[in-house]
């Protein structure tokens, strides 16, 4: 198929921060900010209340920061880092989401991933899915996704 609109590119993967990717970077950045802030507060102010939940909260914060930076950089190594970070993120939100319903005692108040991210409009649940789809789509090269 002829693609006359796009800028001429080689066969390499498309940058993860171009097009829709820039919105993904923005949302990841925002969640990184929110998760880091909340985590710092939880650990400094009332860590003993729910150590497990708050440690997981801190892990979530780190994952979001890593994913944001990796998606924003978008080179070959970053792409691999982003894939790992976002996969962990998806597993995390699913496991913590389920655990927060089953073991309510361990999760006394909301964290980013508890209850599948309901405190953040379920964005933490949707985001890793979009992230993985985006990584897959951009891996195919410049022809994809010139909406």
């Amino acid at each position: 198929m002829a693609d006359v609109t796009g800028t001429p590119r080689t066969d390499g993967p498309r940058s993860t921060r171009s097009g829709p990717g820039i919105v993904l970077v923005a949302v990841y950045g925002l969640l990184a900010l929110a998760a880091t802030g909340r985590s710092v507060l939880q650990i400094t102010e009332y860590f003993s209340r729910a150590p497990l939940a708050y440690v997981l909260s801190a892990v979530a914060a780190v994952i979001y920061v890593v994913a944001t930076v990796a998606l924003a950089r978008g080179d070959r190594t970053s792409r691999r880092v982003a894939l790992v970070a976002i996969s962990v993120e998806l597993a995390g939100v699913l496991v913590v989401g389920l655990a927060s319903y089953l073991a309510t005692d361990a999760f006394p108040d909301k964290t980013v991933w508890s209850h599948f991210g309901s405190g953040y409009g379920y964005v933490p649940l949707v985001l890793p899915v979009l992230g993985l789809l985006w990584l897959r789509r951009t891996a195919r090269g410049s022809a994809a996704g010139s909406a």
Binding site: R17, P20, I22, V23, A26, G29, L30, L41
Partner: protein, 121 residues
């Protein structure tokens, strides 16, 4: 928190959300009009930060609430410039998505500031 100030910031955020959505629909990029709306919003959140920090002593609730209040107030002024910075470099309609995300975040965080303030009744 000064309620009228919250209303002004909230309205400016919604306006930015609307304009960026409209621009995205029409495939337009960042221009003076959008920058002006963003500048008004920025001015609003800066004033809000100053007012919030000046009244930090009378925030209702425990220390954690005060810390959240301060953190939100200080973080807010960074959002519009960060969004504009990202939007400038992206030359497709998706740049408007970044502006919309930031506008939405400012609206939510401003509402949250007011909510914490209202805990005092």
């Amino acid at each position: 928190m000064l309620f009228p100030l919250t209303v002004v910031v909230f309205a400016a955020a919604l306006l930015l959300l609307a304009v960026s959505g409209w621009y995205a629909a029409r495939s337009r990029l960042l221009d003076d009009r959008l920058l002006l709306v963003a500048a008004v919003l920025e001015l609003g959140v800066l004033v809000q930060a100053v007012v919030a920090l000046a009244h930090l002593g009378s925030v209702p609730g425990d220390r954690a609430e005060t810390a959240t209040f301060a953190a939100y107030a200080i973080t807010l002024p960074f959002l519009p410039p960060a969004a504009i910075f990202l939007a400038l470099k992206e030359k497709t309609r998706w740049s408007m998505g970044v502006a919309a995300v930031a506008a939405f975040a400012v609206a939510v965080m401003t509402a949250r500031l007011q909510q914490i303030w209202n805990l005092g009744g």
